[in-house]
Amino acid sequence: MAKVLVVTSGKGGVGKTTSTAALGAALAKTGKNVVVVDFDVGLRNLDLVMGAERRVVFDLVNVIQGDAKLAQALIKDKRIDTLSLLPASQTRDKDALTAEGVAQVMEELRSKFDWVICDSPAGIERGAQLAMYHADHAVIVTNPEVSSVRDSDRIIGLLDSTTEKAKNGEKIEKHLLLTRYDPVRAARSEMLNVDDVLDILSIPLIGIVPESQDVLRASNLGMPVTLASPDSAPAKAYADAARRLSGEKVDLNIPAEKKGFFGWLFGRSGA
């Protein structure tokens, strides 16, 4: 049974696209058939983060408008053969995505893949609403920072009221993914810590991705971080999160300030 997952946040720049690529690649590495879908019409970037930007011919809007078949718009990843990308269009037409069109594409994707991962645009408007509408699961990407937490709370409200599941009286499974977490600054009370955020949002935590240079390097190279540096701390956090999404029980350790890997990694940035 296919699962549709939306990666959302409300706020921009918190790591939705990075997380979509990393989780998609991590799930595909376990042998699942995965498609990552870019819903950010007009400002697509998932193709760039996935390293497929030179290969885009057709996109989601072409499929919805009947100019291309779904199979023609899907771009197979060159590194993992169970991973595909459906790019967004660069059109400026706000109404290019229709509810019916998206519903049709999602139904077809469900029949072809084990996981359909929708990368939501920032904001709470049409694109974001359509990205979340068909979801069974939601990963809410949040930075330990006041405006991000507030916007995540808004999004949680929308997930519980405006989605298909909500309208049928069912619940979307919501998971909090804390990104750009700096244990040193959290320990010094300069940054909200994990418990603060969990207390406020009260949804289950699926992972904590530490702030890391590996993430920037991965997007420079056009690779999900789970492929570019699989042994790095963020890649491991994403891989564990992917296993939890698949229903596995994996212990979650909160990165703490200690003399060790994190001390070395973050110690220098404290000045």
Binding site: L48, V57, S229
Partner: protein
């Protein structure tokens, strides 16, 4: 992947990012100029129209691949052409 990692080293990912962006933006800026849509996508459309004038092609059996490079791009259109015998036997095909 490990070969890429060792090739670019720990410090050298920004030049890759710059090269990728330069190629991508050159294409995207050209698309936004006169005529609007991507030349290669337009070419692909017209080539398909010409082919359809002569044979009936099943949209599902057409694969289009594109690779935009700095100095040249590759457009690859893969069409499964129905056999002539089968076509005359099956008029709905």
């Amino acid at each position: 992947m490990s070969f890429l990692a060792s090739f670019f080293g720990r410090k050298g990912s920004a030049p890759v990012a710059r090269d990728r962006l330069q190629i991508l933006l050159a294409h995207e800026r050209a698309d936004r100029g006169e005529g609007g849509s991507d030349l290669l996508v337009q070419l692909q459309k017209e080539i398909m129209e010409v082919i359809r004038r002569h044979i009936s092609v099943d949209q599902d059996k057409v694969q289009v691949k594109l690779d935009r490079q700095e100095s040249c791009s590759m457009l690859e259109i893969d069409i499964e052409v129905p056999g002539l015998e089968k076509k005359s036997a099956d008029k709905n095909g």
